[in-house]
C-alpha cells in the first residue's frame, strides 16, 4: 500500500445543531492512490465539500479515521494538523483563494515561506510554477488585477508550491467561464500526467467531469458510484 495517499475509513459527519441531525457524510470509505485524477460529483448538498474538508484535515469527522500517508490525521492536535496540511496537502478553493495584498509571485512564495524554504529554491520554484500555469507575465499582479481564471491558476500554483502529496480542489471551476475552466483543467491534467500529482476535485460541471479518470458520485452523503473512465482530453 505504498502508493496510497488517502485512506478514509468509514467516515461520517453529522451536523446536529439544527432541529434535525443532518448526516452530511455517511459511512464513506475512500481509497486514493498516488497519481489519481479524481472527480467528486453529486447533487448540491450531497456532501462533496464536507468530504473534501475531512480528507483535507480542515474538518473533523464525527466518526471514522482519515489516514494520509500512514498518518491518522484525526488524531493530530490542531497545531500539528496545520503543519500537516502545510506540508502534505495543496488546497484550491472555489474563489477568493489568494491573499489579496500579495502579488501572484508572493502568493506562491508565501507557502514556501511558511515552510521555511530557502530564498533561492523559493525563487526558482516560483518561476517554474508561474510558467507551468502560464502566468509568467502576471508575476507581479495582485489578485484583484487578475481574471477569475488567472486567480485559480495562481491558486493551483500555490497549492503545488509546498510539494504536497495531493491537491484538493472544491469546485475550482465553479466561478469560471468554460474556456477558463478548460484551461485550468488542462493545467491540472498536465501536472498530473507529467509530475504524477494527485488531484481530487469536486464539480458540477459535466465538461469537467469528463476530464477525470475516476469519478466518485455522492448521493445523500454516501458513495453511490465509483467508476473509472477514459478521460476526454481537451480539444482546444
Amino acid at each position: 500500500m505504498q502508493n496510497t495517499v488517502i485512506d478514509a475509513h468509514n467516515i461520517s459527519k453529522v451536523y446536529d445543531q439544527g432541529p434535525v441531525a443532518v448526516k452530511a457524510v455517511n459511512n464513506v470509505h475512500l481509497h486514493i492512490e498516488k497519481g489519481e485524477f479524481v472527480a467528486l460529483v453529486g447533487p448540491s448538498g450531497s456532501g462533496k465539500t464536507t468530504l473534501l474538508n475531512m480528507i483535507g484535515g480542515l474538518d473533523e469527522p464525527t466518526t471514522g479515521n482519515v489516514v494520509i500517508n500512514g498518518v491518522d490525521i484525526t488524531k493530530l492536535s490542531s497545531n500539528e494538523l496545520i503543519d500537516f496540511r502545510l506540508n502534505n496537502i495543496g488546497f484550491v478553493f472555489q474563489s477568493f483563494n489568494l491573499i489579496p495584498v500579495l502579488t501572484a509571485r508572493e502568493n506562491i512564495e508565501f507557502i514556501m515561506l511558511l515552510q521555511k524554504v530557502g530564498k533561492e529554491e523559493r525563487e526558482t520554484r516560483v518561476l517554474k510554477l508561474l510558467e507551468e500555469v502560464g502566468l509568467t507575465d502576471k508575476a507581479n499582479a495582485k489578485p484583484g488585477e487578475l481574471s477569475g481564471g488567472q486567480q485559480q491558476r495562481v491558486a493551483v500554483a500555490r497549492a503545488l508550491a509546498s510539494k504536497p502529496r495531493f491537491v484538493l480542489a472544491d469546485e475550482p471551476t465553479a466561478n469560471l467561464d468554460s474556456q477558463s475552466a478548460a484551461n485550468l483543467l488542462d493545467i491540472m491534467e498536465k501536472l498530473n500526467r507529467e509530475e504524477g500529482m494527485t488531484f481530487v476535485f469536486s464539480t458540477h460541471d459535466q465538461r469537467v467531469i469528463q476530464r477525470a479518470r475516476r469519478v466518485i458520485t455522492l448521493v445523500d452523503g454516501e458513495v453511490a458510484e465509483d467508476t473509472l473512465q477514459t478521460p476526454l482530453t481537451h480539444a482546444g
Binding site: 483535507g56 497545531n79 496545520i82 502545510l86 478553493f93 491573499i99
Partner: protein, 406 residues
C-alpha cells in the same frame, strides 16, 4: 519580514478607513499632548512660584523640627555639609534660614509675625526677592535692620525708616528683643505671606535669637521639579538621618499639593475621555477589519498558517496604524507646543487679575519637557496594545470551518 510586509499592506487595503483612524489618533495625541504640556507647565510654574517663595522644594531640618517648630530645634550650620549638599546633582542652591515667631510692635500696634533670617544674596538668587521690594531697599547681609511685607506695614502703619520692636524667644530660653529699622517693604505674591513676613539678615537674626551658628533649616532649590524624589533620596544619603530630617514641599505644604492634585484630576479626566474616544475609533476599525477578513483568515489557516502567526500579523496592523498616528501626532505637537511656550497664551479678565495679584505672570505656561511627549505617546501605545489583544484572541479562538464558509 513577510509578517511586516503583510501587515503593512493590509492596513492600506482600506486607505480611507486607515487614514480616518490615523487622523483620530493624530488629533487626539496633539490635543492630549498640548493639554498635558499646559498642565505640566501651569502647575510647574505655580509650584515653582509658591515653593520658591516659601519653603523651597526641600528642607533639611534638625530631626523633630517639623513636629515641634521650636527655637530649640535648630542645628549648627555646617558649611562643609552645605557645600557638599549643593554639589548633589540637580540641586541649584542650599540656602540657610532662621525661622521663628515673633511679636512685632510699634508701641501702638502689635502683630504676630514670622521672622525669617536670610542670606540676602542667596535668597534673591532663588526667589528674586529683590524684585519684590516696593519701598526702600533690599537687605544687605550686614544690615542691622528688617524688610517687611506690605501687609505687615499696613497693619502696623509702618513705612521705610520707621522703627519696629521685635519680641521673641531666643535659643536656650534667652530673651530676645530688639529695635530694628524698617529698611524696605516688599510686596509678596501670597497675601498670607505678605501679612506676616519680616526678613532679617542671617547674622542679625542670629544675634537677636542668640543662635550663634545655629539655623532652623536649609532650603534646597532644585533645577527640575521632576527630580524631587531622587534629590530627596540623594540628600538623605548625604546626611545623618538620625540627626536631620529632609522634607519635600508636598510634605511642607500639603494643602498646595492637594489643591494641585484635585485641580489636575479634572483635566486628567478630560484627557481620559479623549483617549476613550480614540480607543473606540481604533476598536471599531479593528472590528470591521476582522469581520471582513474572516474568509481570508480561514484560507490562510487552511493552507498552513498557524493561528499565532496570523494573530501576530493582525496585531502588527493595529500597532502600525497607531504608530503612524502617534508618531505623526507627536511630531506635529512639537512645533505647536514650542510655539506656545515661546508665545504663551495671555490670560485675560478675572483670571489675569488673580494671577497678577499673586505676582505670577498672567500666561498659560506650557511645558516642553520631553516627558510630556513621551507620556502621551506611551499612553496611546498602551491603549493600542490592549485593543490589539482583541483580534489576537479572536483569531486564536477562530473556528476554521465557519471562517472558511463566511
Amino acid at each position: 519580514m513577510i509578517y511586516l510586509r503583510l501587515a503593512w499592506r493590509n492596513i492600506w487595503r482600506n486607505t480611507r478607513r486607515t487614514l480616518i483612524t490615523v487622523a483620530s489618533i493624530f488629533f487626539a495625541v496633539i490635543l492630549a499632548t498640548i493639554m498635558w504640556s499646559m498642565l505640566e507647565g501651569v502647575y510647574g510654574k505655580m509650584i515653582h512660584n509658591i515653593v520658591a517663595f516659601s519653603s523651597g522644594y526641600l528642607q533639611v531640618h534638625k530631626k523633630g523640627y517639623w513636629e515641634e517648630k521650636n527655637i530649640e530645634n535648630v542645628f549648627t550650620a555646617d558649611t562643609a555639609l552645605a557645600k557638599k549638599l549643593s554639589g548633589v546633582e540637580n540641586i541649584t542652591a542650599v540656602v540657610p534660614r532662621i525661622e521663628n515667631f515673633a511679636l512685632a510692635s510699634t508701641g501702638e500696634n502689635t502683630a504676630g509675625v514670622m521672622l525669617l533670617g536670610i542670606d540676602p544674596e542667596k535668597e534673591d538668587n532663588i526667589t528674586n526677592l529683590k524684585t519684590k521690594v516696593k519701598n526702600g531697599k533690599y537687605l544687605r547681609s550686614t544690615d542691622n535692620g528688617v524688610m517687611i511685607g506690605k501687609g505687615v506695614a499696613r497693619k502696623l502703619r509702618l513705612s521705610v525708616g520707621d522703627t519696629i520692636i521685635l519680641l521673641s524667644q531666643g535659643y536656650h530660653a534667652s530673651s530676645a528683643n530688639g529695635l530694628y529699622k524698617v529698611l524696605g517693604i516688599v510686596s509678596l505674591p501670597s497675601p498670607e505671606l505678605d501679612k506676616v513676613m519680616v526678613y532679617m539678615p542671617l547674622a542679625t537674626a542670629s544675634g537677636l535669637l542668640s543662635l550663634d551658628n545655629h539655623i532652623s533649616s536649609w532650603a534646597v532649590m532644585i533645577s527640575d521639579a521632576k527630580k524631587l524624589a531622587s534629590v530627596k533620596k540623594e540628600l538623605l544619603r548625604n546626611i545623618d538621618p538620625t540627626a536631620y530630617e529632609v522634607m519635600d514641599w508636598k510634605e511642607l505644604m500639603p494643602d498646595l499639593d492637594q489643591m494641585i492634585q484635585a485641580d489636575g484630576s479634572g483635566h486628567k479626566i478630560t484627557i481620559l475621555v479623549l483617549y476613550l474616544v480614540i480607543s473606540f475609533g481604533i476598536f471599531s476599525t479593528v472590528l470591521m477589519m476582522m469581520a471582513e477578513r474572516q474568509h481570508e483568515f480561514g484560507i490562510m489557516t487552511a493552507i498552513g498558517m498557524k493561528k499565532r502567526q496570523l494573530a501576530f500579523i493582525v496585531f502588527l496592523e493595529t500597532v502600525f496604524i497607531t504608530l503612524i498616528g502617534v508618531i505623526s501626532g507627536t511630531l506635529a505637537s512639537l512645533p505647536i507646543t514650542f510655539y506656545l511656550s515661546e508665545h504663551p497664551i495671555q490670560l485675560t479678565g478675572e483670571v489675569r487679575i488673580i494671577y497678577e495679584s499673586y505676582g505670577f505672570e498672567p500666561i498659560i505656561a506650557v511645558s516642553t519637557a520631553p516627558v510630556v511627549f513621551f507620556s502621551q505617546a506611551r499612553v496611546v501605545l498602551l491603549i493600542t496594545l490592549l485593543i490589539g489583544i482583541y483580534p489576537v484572541y479572536k483569531i486564536l479562538r477562530m473556528n476554521l470551518m465557519s471562517a472558511l464558509r463566511s
